[in-house]
Symmetry: C2
DNA sequence: ACTACCATACTTGTATGGTAGTATGGTAGT
DNA sequence: ACTACCATACTACCATACAAGTATGGTAGT
C-alpha cells in the first residue's frame, strides 16, 4: 500500500488552471475579458471538460465570473475586496510575527539569515526580479518557523485579490533598500524575541503594500467593478 | 442589458455540492469514507459531470481527497489545520471587533441589539438550535457593521475546518448564559467605543471554541490524519 | 502451502454530442 | 426613420461514451 501522491503528473485540468490563473494575475487576460470554454479548449487543443473544471476552480477563487448560458468573463477588480484583503493580510502577518518573536524554529532562523544575505546581494546587483521572489520567500520562512503552514496558504489565496491591482501599479517604484531594512528589523526582532519591535515593523511593512486604489480606479475604470446599488 | 444574476436557479452542480458539503460537515459522511462519482451520480439521478464539478470544489476546500484512478475519500481531519483555523479566526475576529469599537454603522447596531434580545428569549425557552443560529448571526452583523463582508466570507471558509471537530465534541455542553454575557459585553464595547474591552472579551470568547483536540484524536483516531513523516 | 501472474471490476480523467437559454443582426411592418 | 419580431449563432450545462490507471481475487505453476 504505497501511496506516492506528491509525484503525480499534472492533469490537463491543472495545466489549464495554472496557465489561465497566471495570465489573469499578470493582466495578460485583463479584467472584463470575455472567454469561453470552447475558445480555451481550442487554444489548448483539449476537450471542454478539463477546461470547465478549471473554470469551476477559478470561479471559486473569484477570478472568473460565470453567467450561465451567457458567457464567462475575467472578473473585474473589486476595490472593496482589495481593501479587505489588505486588512486580513496585515492582521494575520502581524499575529504571526508576534508568535515568531516568542518562539521560532532554529532551522528556519538560519534560512531567514541566508535569505537576508541574498537580498543584500540582489540589491547590489539590482536584480529586482530575484529580489521579488526573495521577498516572498522571506515571509514564507517566517510562517514555517512558527508552524503556520496552512495560514500561509490562506494568505496566498487572499493575496490573489491584491496582486492584480499591485500589478497595475507597476512594481518598479519599490524602495528595495527600505524593504531590506524592514526585513532585517524583522529578523532582529525574532532573534531577540522582541515582540513589540516585530509587530511595529510588520505594521509599517504592510503599509507599504497599499496601492492607491482610488487613483487606479480613475486611471483604469474599465478594470474595476463599479459599486452601483448594493 | 438587464443582468438578473442574483436570482438564477440552482444548477445541478450546486445542489450536489451543497448536499455533500452538508453531509460532510454534519459527519453523516465521516472522515475517511470512500465515495465515488458514480455512486453519488446514481444517488442523485444525475450524470457524473455535475458530480465531478462538485467534487472539484469540495477538493479545493479540503473536504475531499481525490486520488486519480484510485478513488475519492472524505478528507481526514487535520489537527494542525484545525489549530491554525482557530488561530486565524481569533486574530481576524479581534481585528474586526477593534475596528467596530472605533466605527460602527448605526443600522447594524440596532440589529445587534435586536439579536441580543432574541438570544435572551432563546435561553429562557432553552431553544439551543435557534440560539446557535443567533450566535452565528451576531458575529455576522458585527462584520457587516464595519464593512468587512468579504472578511466574513473568508472566515466562513476557514471555519469549515473547525466545524467537524466541533461537531465531534457534541455542542450540547455550551454554557449559553456565559455566551450571552460575552455577546452583551461585545455590544457594550461597540456602543461605548471601548476598544480595549471589545478586544479582551473577543479573545476570551474565541478561547471558548477550542475543542480539546488531543482528547478527540484519542477518542476518534480513525477520523484524524496521523502526522507521519513531515 | 506459497508465489507469480492475469482477468476483471472497479476508479478518475478526457472527449463529444445534444439541450436550453441568451445576445445579436437583419427584416418586415408601421 | 423607427420598432417589433424572428432566425441564427453563440453561451454554459448536462449526459454519455471511451480511455487509462489501479485494486482485487482467483488460478496455475512451483
Amino acid at each position: 500500500m504505497e501511496y506516492t501522491i506528491g509525484t503525480q503528473a499534472l492533469s490537463t485540468r491543472d495545466i489549464v488552471y495554472r496557465s489561465l490563473k497566471n495570465q489573469i494575475l499578470l493582466l495578460e487576460l485583463p479584467p472584463g475579458t470575455g472567454i469561453s470554454e470552447k475558445e480555451i479548449s481550442l487554444k489548448f487543443s483539449v476537450s471542454r471538460t478539463p477546461v470547465r473544471e478549471a473554470f469551476v476552480r477559478l470561479a471559486q477563487e473569484g477570478l472568473l465570473a460565470v453567467y450561465p448560458q451567457r458567457g464567462t468573463v475575467v472578473s473585474l477588480i473589486d476595490s472593496e475586496l482589495v481593501e479587505e484583503a489588505r486588512f486580513m493580510r496585515e492582521h494575520l502577518e502581524r499575529a504571526v510575527i508576534r508568535e515568531s518573536c516568542s518562539a521560532f524554529q532554529a532551522r528556519n532562523l538560519i534560512d531567514l539569515k541566508a535569505n537576508l544575505d541574498k537580498q543584500k546581494l540582489c540589491i547590489e546587483d539590482q536584480d529586482y526580479k530575484e529580489m521579488f521572489m526573495l521577498d516572498e520567500e522571506f515571509h514564507h520562512v517566517i510562517f514555517m518557523g512558527c508552524n503556520k503552514k496552512n495560514t500561509w496558504e490562506v494568505i496566498q489565496q487572499i493575496k490573489v485579490h491584491l496582486n492584480r491591482s499591485r500589478m497595475l501599479k507597476l512594481t518598479a517604484d519599490h524602495n528595495w533598500e527600505h524593504l531590506y531594512r524592514q526585513h532585517y528589523g524583522l529578523y532582529e526582532a525574532i532573534e531577540q524575541h522582541n515582540i513589540q519591535q516585530g509587530d511595529q515593523i510588520m505594521q509599517e511593512h504592510m503599509a507599504l503594500t497599499i496601492a492607491d486604489q482610488e487613483m487606479l480606479m480613475e486611471k483604469y475604470p474599465q478594470y474595476y467593478k463599479q459599486r452601483s446599488a448594493d
